[in-house]
Amino acid sequence: MQVNGQLALTVLMGVFLVAVAAWLARVENWRTYTPLAGGGGAYGQEGYTSEEKPSGLIRWLTTVDHKDIGLLYGTYGLIAFAVGGLMVVVMRVELADPGMTLISNTYYNSLLTSHGITMLFLFGTPILAAFSNYLIPLLIDADDMAFPRINAIAFWLLPPGALLIWAGFFPIPDIIPAQTAWTMYTPLSAGLGNGNQANAGVDLMLLGLHLTGVSATMGAINFIATIFTERAEEVTWANLDIFSWTILTQSGLILFAFPLLGSALIMLLFDRNLGTAFFVNGGDPILWQHLFWFFGHPEVYILVLPPMGIVSYVLPRFSGRRLFGFKFVVYSTLAIGVLSFGVWAHHMFTTGIDPRLRASFMAISLAIAIPSAVKTFNWITTMWNGRVRLTTPMLYCIGFVSNFIIGGVTGVFLASVPIDLVLHDTYYVVGHFHYIVMGAIAFAGFAGLYYWFPLYTGRMYQRTLGKAHFWLSMVGTNVTFFAMILLGYGGMPRRYATYLPQFATLHQVATLGAVILLAGQIIFVWNFVQSWLEGPKVENGDPWNLKEDNLYTAEWNWYDRKLKTAVADGGEEEEEEALTDGGQAADATETDDDAN
């Protein structure tokens, strides 16, 4: 009987797939996708022009244009940011008083796990891919990515990944959310003991994570191939911009780190479902920590290098001068890339590993602090005596530098074994890495979103709202995470839904900070959506007045050409007047250049 049921299901699934394939084949005339079929325009980038792009939803489902894929990644990342952010708001509200009030402790643990994974894998990596997909081909003057279709596949692996990771939260019978924390330490994550982590929800989460890892790896291969082989002739290694350098390094890190995560996840799935003995059943639970952190520490640099690139790229444009010590920044990026693979056990100082090995990991962790500090000095020196324009992107860059200093310095303290033995698994660690992931990485993301807003929307955002967003984020970040550093000094352990009454005040301060952050992000969403739809059109190829200081760069040059040649970009409703060659569209609104 069982077999018959399964057979029926299989047949049903087969019929369904055939139906989908038939529908896809009919809905579009795929033969029209030959590049440059009709008057593709003078510029390489327009390989897939308006005629070839279908309109509406189909365009977004079928696109292989790097700019469209960049926008998809961006949308995806921001949605994940909202999901992960709302999860943590619930947690912070729960933590406003010591006991268990709003949600159950197990639900708290579920949110904690999902928040971490969502922010790192569904927001962090994709939002960076948004910038790199949109910008790298423009910056190095390539026609598109080296493998446009792989690029599209890499993105489309992400939505199913998210659904699997969040599966436990959906009303599916017998499936509960994972409560393993983002580090998925064994034996808890192997489903042993009296807990409920043998549930299939954990397996789904692991599979989802695996998908996002495959996606990141495909993207990384694509970027390495693109940057090595698709550069225009003038873009020599000496002329490669700093953002592309950081993406190249990041891709190298992904290439070595993510497949390892994938293997470790498979081993864990085997331990859970097939009775193998890698980590449990007689295996070694510490092996998981080694494998996880051999991926995990490079992962934090995978997340921070491109933001460093964005800041190194944007900050000089508003300092009225070029980046101080450009090559220092390039070489130190590469140094971070290599050394990040030699520090993983600084997350394991308290596990009882051999003290000699601890000492070595401490040494490399201290050495890696140097290239990070060098960059900080480069940014400060760039602003020193410069003509600083405090636009919204610039404010975010300065906020990045300031928060990165606190996050980095607390990191160096944690890297020294005696201090870590005291502070490990306290809120101090939470404070440390949130200064980096929220205070630096998200800030650089916002700097980029504002700086290139005219580039990808053709419009300008509202600058007052932009500044309100910045100040609320800056104050909120520091209130929340400084309170956490103090909590850590006080000995408050991390990952608990309840706590002793003596920690109440600082926890309430942290919750207040989270509410301030939430207010800021609501303003951001409003500003972003409204300005995208109705903001004043930017009809000037140099909205930030970069030419004035000789800081004009390739992507704005591309934008300028696009404005001047204004072939309607497929998909949107055709605007007739935009087709006029050369001149500006009739309804040219004065550019709001936000330069004050």
């Binding site: 003038e234 000496a238 002329n239 890339g337 040494a363 490399i364 992507e555 040059n557």
Partner: protein, 130 residues
């Protein structure tokens, strides 16, 4: 041939990676001179030094290769201001630098190109500063 590429300038640029290399070397010597946890266990010692040696060698090799690629391209072809290689009227780096130096000699303002400084700045008409 190596010395043609690794001239003084390039070596100066690479100092930024020499410092971490030096720190790692320092710890290797320190652990050798003060073996706090004994010399007994050979395997542990081997892993301890391996963990320092592998990143050291990897960093040295990557620094050498990237230095060769970047400095080599500097010698072989024109270097433009960052991100300007493919814009319509790019500025060459040495041009920019010599002008910046000239400007610095003229007055003590920071060594940067003033916007009115001649051919390299394209659109003087757009100087709407605030």
């Amino acid at each position: 041939m190596a010395n043609e590429i690794f001239d003084r300038e390039t070596l100066l640029d690479l100092t930024v990676n020499m410092i971490p290399l030096f720190i790692i070397a320092f710890f290797m010597v320190a652990f050798a001179v003060f073996p706090l946890f004994g010399r007994g266990d050979l395997l542990a010692m081997a892993v301890q030094y391996g963990l320092l040696l592998v990143p050291f060698v990897a960093l040295a090799v990557l620094t050498y290769l990237s230095g060769k690629a970047i400095a080599g391209d500097e010698k072989r072809s024109t270097v433009f201001l960052q991100g300007q290689a493919t814009v319509d009227e790019p500025t060459e780096l040495h041009e920019y630098e010599s002008q910046a130096e000239a400007a610095a000699v003229d007055d003590d303002s920071p060594a940067e190109l003033e916007s009115s400084d001649g051919e390299t700045t394209q659109n003087d008409d757009e100087t709407t500063r605030n």
